[in-house]
């Protein structure tokens, strides 16, 4: 099972900035190991977020996103106590969801 994400949702007026740090290899499939064999691609393909259970964003990523990816997005309308949940899914079908309360 994949390691937990670190999520922080910070209120600025009526908006909330959500910052997410995921733990993932993000192997591109371009690199070779010491024996010259291609290391198979392994990366997060889909990221989605919900705000109090309502889907608010989806993203598609390629292998060019850095290892242990960082992402931030801004919710237009949020308040303290709201729940934000973020899910990712990688190209091997592994998935992880973490939730945070807006502070």
């Amino acid at each position: 099972m994949a390691d937990p994400m670190r999520i922080r949702a910070q209120i600025e007026g009526s908006k909330a900035t959500v910052r997410v740090l995921m733990q993932h290899e993000m192997e591109t499939g371009q690199r070779k190991d010491s024996a010259g064999k291609v290391i198979p691609a392994w990366f997060i393909q889909e990221v989605s977020a919900t705000h109090n259970g309502k889907p608010v964003m989806t993203a598609e990523w390629g292998p060019a996103v850095s290892k242990n990816p960082f992402m931030s997005f801004v919710l237009k309308d949020a308040k303290a106590g709201d729940k934000i949940s973020v899910t990712w899914k990688d190209n091997k079908g592994d998935t992880r969801t973490d939730e945070v309360v807006v502070a």
Binding site: A59, P63, V65
Partner: protein
């Protein structure tokens, strides 16, 4: 024991196989836009995304990043636009093996303002692309110099 000729032949075969692997990245799964992520140029990408109009540069789209990235493995980039009616924001790195790095869908609940970190193999132009609901495609670009590539072993 292989002689030199057989060895060379063998290497050539392996090289071809490797090239084949490089040309066709991992097979895409159901929802993921595989063809878009395999695009090598802006034109290919727009075709894969079914964009109806040619991309135009716009001052209303912003790309925030430092001009020099010390480490190509981790290049922080922010893309944003203040325009209403954005459907999707894309982040492209021109000289990467595949141009599209990330695509964010913009919903009504979100500002079109995203940040992430990408890998860059070499110094390159980077694009922030906004795909509008009315079919327009607007972009901003910036050259980022990389001192240490992010795609090597």
């Amino acid at each position: 024991m292989q002689d030199r000729r057989a060895f060379l032949n063998h290497s050539a075969t392996v090289a071809l196989l490797l090239a084949g692997v490089g040309m066709v990245p991992s097979t895409a799964r159901a929802a993921w836009s595989g063809p878009a992520f395999e695009a090598k140029s802006m034109a290919d990408l727009m075709k894969a995304m079914n964009a109806s109009s040619a991309p135009a540069e716009s001052k209303d789209v912003t790309l925030t990043a430092s001009e020099v990235a010390e480490n190509g493995a981790v290049v922080p980039i922010a893309i944003a636009t203040t325009l209403p009616g954005v459907k999707r924001m894309l982040l492209l790195v021109e000289k990467n093996p595949n141009i599209l790095s990330a695509a964010f869908d913009v919903s009504d609940a979100l500002e079109a303002n995203f940040a992430t970190r990408v890998k860059m193999g070499q110094s390159s132009n980077v694009y922030a692309v906004a795909m509008m609901a009315d079919g327009k495609v607007l972009f901003a670009q910036k050259e980022i110099k990389v001192t240490l590539g992010g795609c090597g072993g």
